[in-house]
Amino acid sequence: MCGIVGLLIRDPGLEPQIGSLLAQMLASLGERGPDSAGAAIYSSGDPLSELAGSRAYLDRVRISLASEAPFDWEILRKPFAHIGSGDIGMRTFPTGAWLSVPSCELGAVMEFLSTKAEYFSVIGVGEGLSIIKGIGRPEAINGRFSVDSWRGDMAIGHTRMATESAVTVRHCHPFVPAPDLCIVHNGSFSNHATVRRRLIAEGIDFDSDNDSEVAARLISRQLALGDDLEAATRWVTKEMDGFFTMIITSPEGMSVVRDPFACKPAVVAETCQYVAVASEYRAIAGLPGIEDATVFEPEPEEVYTWKR
């Protein structure tokens, strides 16, 4: 069992509230996923700044880092000062950090970070994407990463009850197989080893032995081949065998797909202010205007997409 949520904001007036809405959605799915959780936010500026959309973020890329144990991120400031122009912004949490680096210096920064893999991992990169992952109940993780205060226009999250692989930060969702692409999965795949071997043979690298990462890499491959979000999402129904409700977010928007037997739950709420997807209705019961929302369950094997 796991809990998944996705929230696409249509009314910009709601963007400063996205963090508190996401936090409440994740917390309500704590019973579905008490061992660990993860979330990601799409924003034009720093999600924790009052100045969302600040110009300082132009031509910059964000890198999200996570550590299994608390890490003293401040010690990175010194080596950062010597990479490229030395202009690296950093926001830190006990077990995570968000970097903002000039786009042209991404390669150099990533090369430096790869030498520190024993202390932390890079959990995702994107122009407008910031990611967190942590061990524990979602309420605790919300607090650790100030999720309540995030601003942005699209968010995705996952509460995990591990069944197929270990409980570590590295195994947490969302998986970010390509810049600005996030995938969360509730369920389990039975043919993940087979598909993983095939993708590895094609030259695709994996970060973990998590079954959900296989579907994430598959979607990422299809997007790289030129599919749009809807077509890429449909590939999960063609290639993957097992139980799944998946939410995928990309700069294009948000998509949802369920297995042919609809073994894992999903509910969608749509209003002129937002589109919300969650494992269970109680996760969206507290959203503004939910009484008047169009609420429905996605049909099995159908792909639903909403443009950003």
């Binding site: 037997f261 609809a262 269970e280 209705y281």
Partner: protein, 230 residues
């Protein structure tokens, strides 16, 4: 009428309070916000209105083996496994129900005024399930006894591996499951449907124009002809 606030009391306390009520009580439960397990395991004849959308297992395990039990009305939609294993009484949902409505229900009546999602009436064991709208795929799967009435259309694989339950569908059927077959409507069937229409108020259903689906009973025994594949 007594009111119990789910948000203030929590589900466990609400269920305790409902269990303490004497027969013929009337009670309203508010602020349900999609919470699971509301009004489960109750056996007295009380009237309960759930004033909003509820989560999983709403009204489950209710009623007694003599068919009596609480009458529950849900003023909204419900999550998975509505009235699971119901023994008696009734549960009426004003909105739609998610998957596995009335699963394993042995007695009582489950009435859904909207649609029911996949696997409605799965493993039904004697209760009556009436859905005004459509039911999703795999509905009536392995249903052993009881009646399912569908006022709208049925999804794929209807009545797969049915035992002795009977399914009536007023609209179309995407496909029948293994061993399910369409049978001729008898005068007893029409009478039974008429009675159900009266109870449910689903008067858009014409008792003479429904399709009866029941077991072909080909899966009841091993067949010597299939010896090679056993």
């Amino acid at each position: 009428m007594e009111t119990l606030n789910c948000e203030v009391l929590g589900v466990r306390e609400v269920n305790r309070a409902l269990r303490r009520l004497p027969a013929r009580s009337q009670v309203r439960v508010t602020n349900t916000y999609g919470k699971h397990n509301i009004a489960v395991g109750l056996d007295k004849e009380i009237s309960i209105t759930l004033g909003g959308n509820t989560g999983y297992f709403t009204g489950g395990l209710g009623g007694s083996s003599d068919g009596t039990g609480p009458d529950i009305v849900v003023d909204g939609f419900v999550g998975w496994s509505l009235a699971e294993n119901l023994m008696g009484g009734s549960v009426r949902v004003k909105g739609s129900a998610s998957q596995s409505a009335a699963s394993s229900a042995r007695g009582g009546t489950i009435i859904i005024e909207g649609d029911a999602s996949l696997r409605a009436g799965i493993s039904l064991k004697g209760a009556t399930l009436a859905v005004a709208g459509n039911v999703g795929a795999m509905s009536g799967f392995m249903a052993q006894a009881g009646t399912i009435l569908v006022g709208g259309n049925a999804g794929a694989g209807l009545g797969d591996s049915l035992y002795e339950a009977v399914i009536y569908v007023a609209g179309s059927i995407v496909s029948l499951g293994a061993d399910a077959q369409v049978e001729e409507l008898s005068s007893d069937d029409i009478l039974a449907i008429k009675r159900l229409v009266e109870i449910t108020g689903f008067d858009h259903i014409d008792p003479h124009r429904v399709t009866r689906v029941a077991s072909a009973r080909r899966l009841y025994h091993f067949s010597a002809q299939n010896h090679g594949s056993y």
